[in-house]
Amino acid sequence: MSIILVGLNHKTAPVEVRERLAFTDDACAESLHALVDGEIIREGLIVSTCNRVEILTATGNERGAEATSRVSDFLSEMRHVPGAMFSPHLYTHSDSNAVRHVFRVASSLDSMVVGEPQILGQVRHAYSLAVAAGTAGRIMHRLVHSALRVAKRVRTETGIAASAVSISFTAVELGRKIFGSLKGATVLLVGAGEMAELAALHLANAGASRILVANRTERAAHILADKFGGEAVDFQNLTAHLAEADIVICSTAATGYVITPEMAGAAREARRNRPIFIIDISVPRNVDPAVGKLDNLFVFDVDDLEAVIASNIREREREAERAESIVESEVLQFDQALRNLDIGPTVGALRTRLQGIADEEYKRQRARLGALTPEQERAVEHLLKSTVNKISHPLIHRMRRSYDTGEADNIRAWRESFGIEE
């Protein structure tokens, strides 16, 4: 038995190609039935996201090449796309390479943003579709469960998803870098905006307990304050409120500076030099860059946040190297487990072994039989062969059953009893 994966992703194919090949959930179920013919392709699973389309199949031994071309034809038929359009972007992996690819995809090592968490859910979803369609068999069950386990290992044992790669989470992360814990922190929103609200929400989730909202129009301030269970404060008296705030998120539409070094300096003095972390996500900027030069004031504008994100992504990539070695060792284990389960070679070896015994005995006793006509000779050979087959048939049947139910121990026991090496 063999595992074949055919697919394309954001690295190999442009979006124009990916969108043509993407499967909706409904199309997915339907297509799975068309894909799995029970002959060449015994099991199938389709992972389709905006960044990738992957067709994962299990086939009989030595059927890899057929399966590959079948999957390619299948894609072309199902999505009504000429093969020439996507085939240059396709990659094909077989057996341990396919397993490695699935593990890497599930662990988010193959994602556009390494370590992003969505892919795991998408893999799980693809699996449930295949289970519902009845195209996930023993191999898929094993493979997907292993992939989910590997993904979990990677997540907990490496820092691949530890650092923030979005503006709002970066705000939380930087807040933690400055204040340690955000429990009980006060957040001041100056102006409103989607991004500012999102950042405030994440800060509140991280423990910030008090949210102040200052806005030029008082009504808008009240509306936003109600949304967060915060307080609307007087925009004219910003310096006083700056002094209360540990974290300030600035996003007004003002064209000039809303926070000046004088205001920030006064606020800092009023709060006895406790640091203030100012996030300026407005363009043009609302916070005078000179504010950031003052001690204990940390100002981050949009570009700075982007720089943090870039650094975090590099950090994730460093962690990814460690994740790769986890994947590698898991691929080895999976291969081993699969080989232990694979019945084909064992069945062949069993037949050869029994036939060998019969042939040997016949050769030893041949002289005693005296002269035989060619017909008689053939009859004896046939007799031996059919006896061997009659004996081995129930054994092999039983072995296949063990294989189907995944009883690796039984298969190992068979092998040992007949002296068959793996």
Partner: protein
């Protein structure tokens, strides 16, 4: 007892290396090894000090090698206290190699020590002398922890200000944590230093009637004391970067106290 001290040194080296590995690779497993070997090293170190004390029959803070070894011992305690309160494993990267170095130097210096007659703590208030030295060494250990926290603060603050996020950004504890470690250990150190100086003065005046010997170590101790007094007094105004620089300066003075005592000689000779 020499074998114990050697064993302690080996354990400290292992602890220091694993602390650095934990910092670089961010693996909890290394931290655990570091903590375990630090514990073993500390036990052996304590045994070595007690055995020395029992065998020589004097408080083990007489010779230079004893003082250095004792400083390493107090530093382990200071580190463990800071760790239990703040969970800032990164402190170990600076303190544990220093502990290992101190014990190493102590092992070397041991060969050439001999008792100086002038240091024999006889006469009145002799019991004060061990208290004086012990307090001061604990004070210096606290200042070293304050120094380590200050360095971590400055590195981290620099990255936050310049927005260049290098290796330290992902590895150091938060600014407020290191700021807190720095100020707390400076306050503790200052209190111990004050008590140490006071006991020294009382002991000295009881013994020889003189409170001040124009000794380099006394000068440096006084400057250190004034510096930390300033630091603690202006804590609110100088929170953050300035406080961190004072923490570094304080450590430089502590170094001068030791080096000064060794090079310049005088009343407080450590040999």
């Amino acid at each position: 007892m020499k074998p114990f001290l050697y064993f302690a040194l080996a354990a400290y080296v292992v602890a220091a290396i694993h602390s650095i590995l934990a910092f670089v690779n961010k693996r909890r497993a290394f931290e655990r090894v570091s903590m375990a070997s630090l514990g073993v090293g500390f036990a052996a170190h304590t045994a070595a000090i007690i055995i020395d004390w029992v065998q020589d029959g004097h408080y083990p803070l007489f010779y230079l090698h004893e003082t250095i070894s004792f400083l390493g011992w107090t530093l382990v305690i200071a580190y463990a206290l800071a760790l239990s309160r703040y969970r800032a494993q990164a402190l170990g990267v600076l303190t544990l190699p220093l502990v290992a170095a101190l014990v190493f130097v102590s092992n070397i210096a041991r060969e050439s020590s001999n008792l100086l007659p002038g240091r024999d703590p006889d006469g009145s208030a002799a019991w004060l002398f061990p208290i004086h030295t012990t307090l001061l060494l604990f004070a210096y250990a606290a200042f070293i922890v304050a120094f380590a926290a200050s360095v971590m603060y400055l590195l981290q603050e620099r990255e936050l200000k310049l927005k260049t996020f290098g290796a330290f950004f992902h590895r150091l504890p938060s600014l407020s944590t290191v700021d807190d470690i720095g100020s707390t250990s400076a306050s503790v150190g200052f209190t111990l230093l004050t008590l140490g100086i006071v006991t020294g003065i009382i002991w000295s005046s009881a013994r020889s009637g003189r409170m001040w010997h124009n000794d380099p170590i006394e000068f440096f101790a006084l400057i250190t004391w004034v510096l930390y007094l300033t630091l603690i007094h202006y804590r609110a105004q100088w929170r953050g970067r300035k406080a961190a620089w004072l923490g570094v300066a304080g450590f430089a003075l502590v170094l001068c106290t030791f080096v000064g005592a060794m090079l310049l000689g005088g009343y407080h000779v450590l040999s």
